[in-house]
Symmetry: C2
Subunit: 127 residues, 2 copies
């Protein structure tokens, strides 16, 4: 996929991938690649936040995901996911107390200034 | 992914992929690879059925998908999707009359005799 992180400000993570290795039979971004960049954007942001909280040993797994393809992506694949400190705190509390917690993250893939893909994933962190 | 078709009887398509190139940080199948084999299983079955109906020029796109990860996959990735002739007829009728039709397909990924992943995809066929 040639996926890479393009920006991270402590709250929002941006991942990008070029179109060429992720193309479908119609010359636009393959739906599976769009899913992958989305699921990894949410997973990676959670990994970063857990590591920053000293919870490097927790596993993170995707449990359920809903993906809506709204527009074809005809250029670079650009995903972004935001996790505010309030939502993070609500997630870390049961994780530190019970060893396990669940969180829903929304990842957006943009095509120019429009939303091309809306991804909602339920992730679980556990030992 | 090293994905390949393993069986097709005209109604059910089976796709398989080895674990090694599709592994995650936990040594089990990556959720993105599981999504990809599922979305392609549904897409490929629809492509086969449309080609058999002489509709080779129709495009097929995934519009929406819901994925539930129930069990980790620790061996070969095995996806299957079935499209009965009744459901196919209901799909082909508006497609031939209006040039466009939508269908919901369910793809299952098995881990031994249990369901590991349940995928439901809404696909659209159009010009």
């Amino acid at each position: 996929m040639q996926l890479q992180a393009s920006a991270y400000d402590g709250q929002t993570l941006h991942l990008i991938a070029p179109l060429a290795p992720n193309v479908n039979d119609k010359g636009t971004a393959f739906g599976g690649s769009l899913y992958n960049i989305a699921v990894l954007c949410g997973w990676s942001l959670l990994r970063l936040k857990l590591n920053e909280a000293g919870l490097n040993k927790k596993n993170i797994v995707i449990q359920e995901a809903h993906t809506r393809y709204l527009l074809p992506v005809t250029g670079e694949l650009r995903a972004s996911c935001t996790l505010t400190s309030d939502v993070l705190t609500e997630f870390l509390h049961p994780l530190q107390n019970k060893g396990r917690a669940r969180i829903t993250l929304t990842v957006t893939i943009h095509q120019q200034d429009k939303t091309a893909v809306e991804f909602t994933g339920n992730y679980v962190a556990l030992d």
